[in-house]
């Protein structure tokens, strides 16, 4: 029970940190925020690694873990890359004053 309580502490505090850190995002960044934070939710890859690498005597859990590693990696790699691609496009007006 002790472990569960500590986990709950961490969960609640992290949610509150999340609310504080993210609350003032301008609309222009809504999509990048979503796809960037989505890449972070690929953190499930950590859990998948722990399951998939647990034993050198593979069973169903191991295979499920490997599948989870693969799809979480798609989420992580694809998510961060596509967010970067999007953010590269956001440019300030240049030229108006320089021309």
């Amino acid at each position: 029970m002790e472990g569960l309580i500590i986990s709950l502490y961490i969960f609640v505090l992290a949610v509150l940190v999340g609310f504080e850190v993210i609350s003032k995002v301008p609309p222009i960044l809504h999509t990048p925020l979503m796809s960037g934070s989505n890449a972070v939710s690929g953190i499930a890859v950590i859990g998948a690694l722990l399951i998939a690498g647990k034993t050198d005597n593979p069973d169903i859990s191991t295979y499920l873990g490997i599948v989870a590693v693969a799809i979480a990696t798609v989420n992580v790699v694809g998510g961060f890359l596509v967010t970067d691609r999007m953010l590269q496009m956001f440019k300030k007006r240049t030229g108006d004053n320089n021309q």
Binding site: G3, L4, A14, V15, L16, G18, F19, V21, V25, P26, P27, I28, L29, H30, T31, P32, L33, M34, S35, G36, S37, N38, A39, V40, S41, G42, I43, A44, V45, I46, G47, A48, A52, G53, K54, I60, S61, T62, L64, I66, V67, A68, V69, A70, I71, A72, T73, V74, N75, V76, V77, G78, F80, L81, V82, F90, K91, K92, R93, T94
Partner: protein, 465 residues
């Protein structure tokens, strides 16, 4: 310092990277570095996990990472910006699916161990499986709706679906309870998975296309909460922290989207907008007359305007008209016209959809104005050009108390001196209600595909010279 402590300190470091990364995503100037900080945090977390003594077998892991990495790179590089909502939906689903698989695999492992399962662990396993599976199947349906693939994209209002959802939800709770108490049969766990998947499908199927921004944001939040739940299962703080950050950001976006439509989240998920009101909406259009125009006339109006505001909507994305719009805007600007874009928060199919499309067409972001900043400007604007937006411009939201969209904040497009409304027909938007703006004395309807119409207008302006 033991290895465990080193790993936990690395997790703390990546949590700090995630928090600063998300913070920097909040401002256009720092957003890119924020995303990079996030990816570094992820790398630290993955490496720290790989050196964990519990991880002894690497072959399967390497195969999974290589395969997943390649698919991720391909998707990220190849995807068209107009298909971003679909991609985000898929990624949400994968995150949820991975979390569900972790919970399922862990349950399968500890069930085979001697002794009974600690209820702390089994409760969180059921929760992780449930949230993860709902996220997975819900996201796949959202993808199907966005892609207009197999699933109808319109809203469905069915008592049957609502009753079925309630039944499925109660079944999930019942199965979980029995599993935690370890009184049920072994078939209960697969039953929980199937009920959760079905619930995800049936929750998203009735939701109309224009409510997608809310759904995508909500599923985003779920994918984080699912990861958090697996953190509880494995007793891993890294998963709990990162998952809850995503859960929080998704909830913030969900809330913003709901506010932008003046609806509650319950109304979006269970309300199925429009299905009952469409007949009444059509009746109100009788006896009204919409004035149509041609691209040549529109060109003259635009060429002699001093200020123009473009109002993009989902139709711009559907017609892939973002580059043509930018070209027209540039041409007008070179003639000394003041050009701006008015972006409604729920225009398009995901939060910020229009901003991404226009950024892709290299529209500078300081020309893009959010609703609250530009609404007072329509009074002093010569021409408002509506490209593929509909309900977010409907003045009925302001004063027709019987309208289903009454109270929704709208762009004050009707205040502009002239309104050019590019649309293929007078068909109503997703809410199934007629747009009063079509019949406004200052509105000129340009009936055409958005991309073609804008290219024609641009051509006609060039010929004026």
């Amino acid at each position: 310092m033991s290895q465990d402590q080193a790993i936990n300190l690395s997790y703390l470091l990546s949590a700090v990277f995630f928090i600063f990364g998300l913070k920097r995503l909040g401002s256009p100037a720092t957003a890119r570095s924020g995303n990079q900080l996030g990816s570094i945090g992820m790398l630290i977390a993955v490496v720290a996990t790989l050196v964990n003594q519990e991880v002894v077998e690497y072959q399967g892991i390497i195969a999974g990472i290589v395969l997943g990495g390649l698919v991720g790179i391909l998707l990220a590089k190849r995807i068209q910006m107009t298909a971003m909502p679909q991609l985000v939906a898929i990624f949400n689903g994968l995150g949820g699916g991975a979390s569900a698989l972790v919970a399922i695999a862990e349950y399968n492992r500890i069930r085979n161990l001697p002794g009974s399962i600690d209820p702390d662990v089994s409760i969180t396993i059921m929760l992780g499986t449930f949230i993860g599976a709902v996220t997975l199947s819900g996201s796949l349906i959202a993808f199907g709706k966005l892609q207009s693939f197999l699933v109808p994209s319109n809203a469905i209002n069915s008592i049957l679906i609502k009753a079925l959802n309630l039944l499925l939800f109660l079944s999930c709770i019942g199965a979980s309870t029995l599993l935690v108490l370890e009184t049920g049969t072994t078939y209960l766990f697969p039953a929980l998975i199937i009920c959760s998947l079905l619930l995800g499908i049936l929750l998203v199927i009735p939701i109309g296309g224009a409510d997608m921004p809310v759904v995508i944001a909500l599923l985003n939040s779920y994918s984080g909460l699912a990861a958090s739940a697996t953190g509880f299962v494995l007793g891993n703080n890294m998963l709990i922290i990162a998952g809850s950050l995503v859960g929080a950001s998704g909830l913030i976006l969900t809330n913003l989207m709901c506010k932008a439509m003046n609806r509650s989240i319950w109304n979006v998920i269970f309300g199925a907008f429009g299905a009952e009101t469409s007949s009444q909406g059509h009746a109100s259009s009788e006896g009204k007359h919409a004035q149509s125009t041609t691209s040549e006339e529109a060109a003259i109006v635009l060429a002699y305007a001093r200020s123009v505001i473009f109002v993009p909507g989902y139709g711009l994305a559907a017609a892939q008209a973002q580059r043509q719009t930018k070209e027209l805007a540039d041409l007008l600007q070179s003639k000394g016209v003041d050009v701006r874009y008015a972006i409604h928060p729920v225009a398009g199919r995901m939060p910020g959809h229009m901003n991404v499309l226009l950024a892709e067409a290299e529209v500078p972001y300081d020309q893009l104005y959010p609703m609250e900043d530009i609404n007072s400007e329509f009074d002093n604007t010569d021409v408002a050009v509506v490209v593929g937006a509909n309900d977010v411009t409907n003045p009925a939201a302001r004063d027709a108390t019987d309208s289903p969209i009454y109270g929704m904040p709208i762009l004050n497009v009707d205040k502009a001196r002239t309104i050019i409304f590019i649309k293929r027909s007078l068909s109503p938007g997703f809410a199934g209600i007629d747009n009063e703006l079509f019949y406004h004395p200052n509105t000129r309807m340009l009936f055409a595909d958005a991309r073609q119409a804008i290219a024609d207008v641009t051509g006609a302006i060039r010929e004026l010279e």
